[in-house]
Amino acid sequence: MPKHHKTPVVVADPPRLAVRKTYKLFIGGKFPRSESGRTSLLDGDNVALASRKDGRDAVVAARAAQPKWAGVTAYNRGQVLYRVAEMIEARRAEFTALGVEPAEVDAAIDRWVWYAGWSDKIAQVVGGVNPVAGPFFNISAPEPTGVVGVVAPPSLLGLVSVLAPAIVTGNTVVLIASKAQVAITLAEVLATSDVPGGVVNILTGRAAEIAPWLASHDDVNALDLTGVDDAGLAIELERSAAGTLKRVLRRPVGGADFAADPGLRPMTALLETKTVWHPKGF
């Protein structure tokens, strides 16, 4: 043992330095930075600022995930969505810490649960057997439209109100969010639930920059403009979407009321009806 050693100086514990969260994008189940390397300063955080190429990558991820997600049993899809609701509940403090009112978190969870239950009911409500005048079995059933580009409203309730109907119906989503912290916290919920990677892809950034690339993308099937706050942009996106005849959900006239009963429209707008005929005979 060395003879000469210093006597330790007793000082008070320093305040613990918090580990901050980095708000990145959510693509294909992973959290990458923007390929552009850009961030923007939002409420004190340097959040990733998505580019059109991130949009392109997100569409690839969404397309890759779509057939499998659509092929999951409706029961299973409902279970996965319910799990998401559980995880939002478990992380409610994270949302309130971001300034979301507790009542809105409640409403968002309840909305998510409501949609979770639709997974194995929507087909029965909007599909069925058609009594054709002939010896044929004729049945109509809803099927997902495919890959949906969503411009999301900023609020948590708005976000879940556009996201849940899109995925409960078997679509996959590329979602543009302006309020990065809330959206990416929701992405973390999704990543820790059982939602397969690529089913939901979240790009934080400017709708005006990214959405036109989704509207003109040949591999996007539908466009939800609920969260577009610029009338001119909405018209431009709808015109562009006409190029491949994408299904377009317009901005609600007079603004969206997310507290109201959403009805079936948010789901049916993203569903195709397939009608199958088959003869009946020995």
Binding site: G134, P135, F136, P279, K280, G281, F282
Partner: protein, 316 residues
């Protein structure tokens, strides 16, 4: 089973052991589709000169039939006379193809028809049920041929067919064909008892593989006799059979065909399914009785321009 080497090369079964595999490997028949096709062909409009030709052809294809317990020599003689001269008032009216009677009546019919060119068909093989020992069926057949029949209409054992004993049915047909000697063999499938078009197609092939010269729909003794879609399935079978075996087989719908309109629908069916080669009394027959008078009435209407009445045609 005896089939030629060349036909076995073209995919036909080369032993009775393979019959089941073969028959069940035939393409299925979709009921709705075949009925829709037959109905669509039934809407063809055959008028004026085309109708006149069709009526004469139909008359020449009739197997004028009486198969009643009450048949007597007098009745059969009268019918045979009608077969020779269906319309005594019009010598241009052709004779029918054949008379079809029970074996006991064959000698009577033969005495009238001898040398006329009108064929003499006899049902045999324990008609209509087919439920008799093979020896009895063979004797029945030999009797009819010996009495002057040059065509034999046999029935298959539907019970054996439906129980899946294809070999039994096959062998019976082979034996009866042998017993026929030079007489032509028509094999009655009794399609009204087979239940499905798939079975009609299989029974058609089974009969053809066993040597049938004709395949025939019905005995006329069960509720459902000839129909257009059943006949369509059988026509497709003879067409496909000729394509692989090189041998042409005739088709005879029987029972329930009563009007000229009906008969013309069958001719249209042949015309648009198997074509010219079957539009001939050697390859297509109508098993019928009352049909002939309707054909004659329509023929007269076309010739005279006014509608004919039944009192002006013989009832035999």
């Amino acid at each position: 089973m005896t089939v030629t080497a060349s036909s076995s090369l073209s995919g036909l079964p080369d032993s009775t052991a393979h019959l089941r595999t073969f028959l069940h490997g035939l393409p299925g028949v979709d009921k709705v589709g075949v009925e829709a096709r037959a109905a669509a062909l039934g809407t063809r409009s055959v008028k004026t000169t085309a109708k006149a030709r069709a009526i004469d052809l139909a008359i020449r294809m009739v197997d004028l039939t009486t198969l009643e317990g009450a048949d007597t020599p007098g009745k059969v003689r009268a019918l045979s006379a009608k077969a020779l001269r269906p319309d005594p008032a019009d010598p241009s009216c052709p004779s029918v193809a054949a008379i079809c009677v029970y074996p006991a009546m064959v000698p009577v019919a033969a005495s009238v028809l001898a040398g006329s060119g009108v064929h003499l068909a006899s049902v045999a093989t324990a008609f209509p049920s087919g439920q008799a020992p093979l020896e009895v069926k063979i004797a029945d057949t030999q009797d009819a041929v010996a009495g002057g029949a040059d065509e034999i209409d046999m029935v298959i054992s539907r019970g054996a067919f439906l129980s899946g004993d294809y070999t039994h049915v096959f062998n019976e047909i082979v034996e009866i064909k042998h017993a026929c000697g030079p007489a032509h063999l028509k094999v009655i499938l009794e399609t009204g008892e087979l239940g499905t078009y798939d079975n009609v197609r299989r029974a058609s092939w089974l009969a053809m593989l066993a040597g049938a010269d004709f395949i025939k729909t019905s005995t006329g003794k069960v509720p459902v006799a000839a129909t257009l879609p059943v006949t369509l399935v059988m026509l497709e079978a003879v067409r496909d059979f000729r394509a692989v075996s090189g041998r042409q087989v005739g088709v005879k719908p029987a029972g329930g065909i009563r009007t000229t309109k009906d008969a013309i629908k069958y001719l249209v069916l042949i015309n648009e399914t198997v074509g010219d080669d079957w539009l001939d009394p050697d390859w297509f027959r109508f098993g019928a009785s009352s049909l002939l008078n309707d054909l004659l009435m329509q023929r007269t209407k076309l010739a005279t321009g006014h509608y004919a009445g039944p009192d002006y045609f013989t009832l035999d």
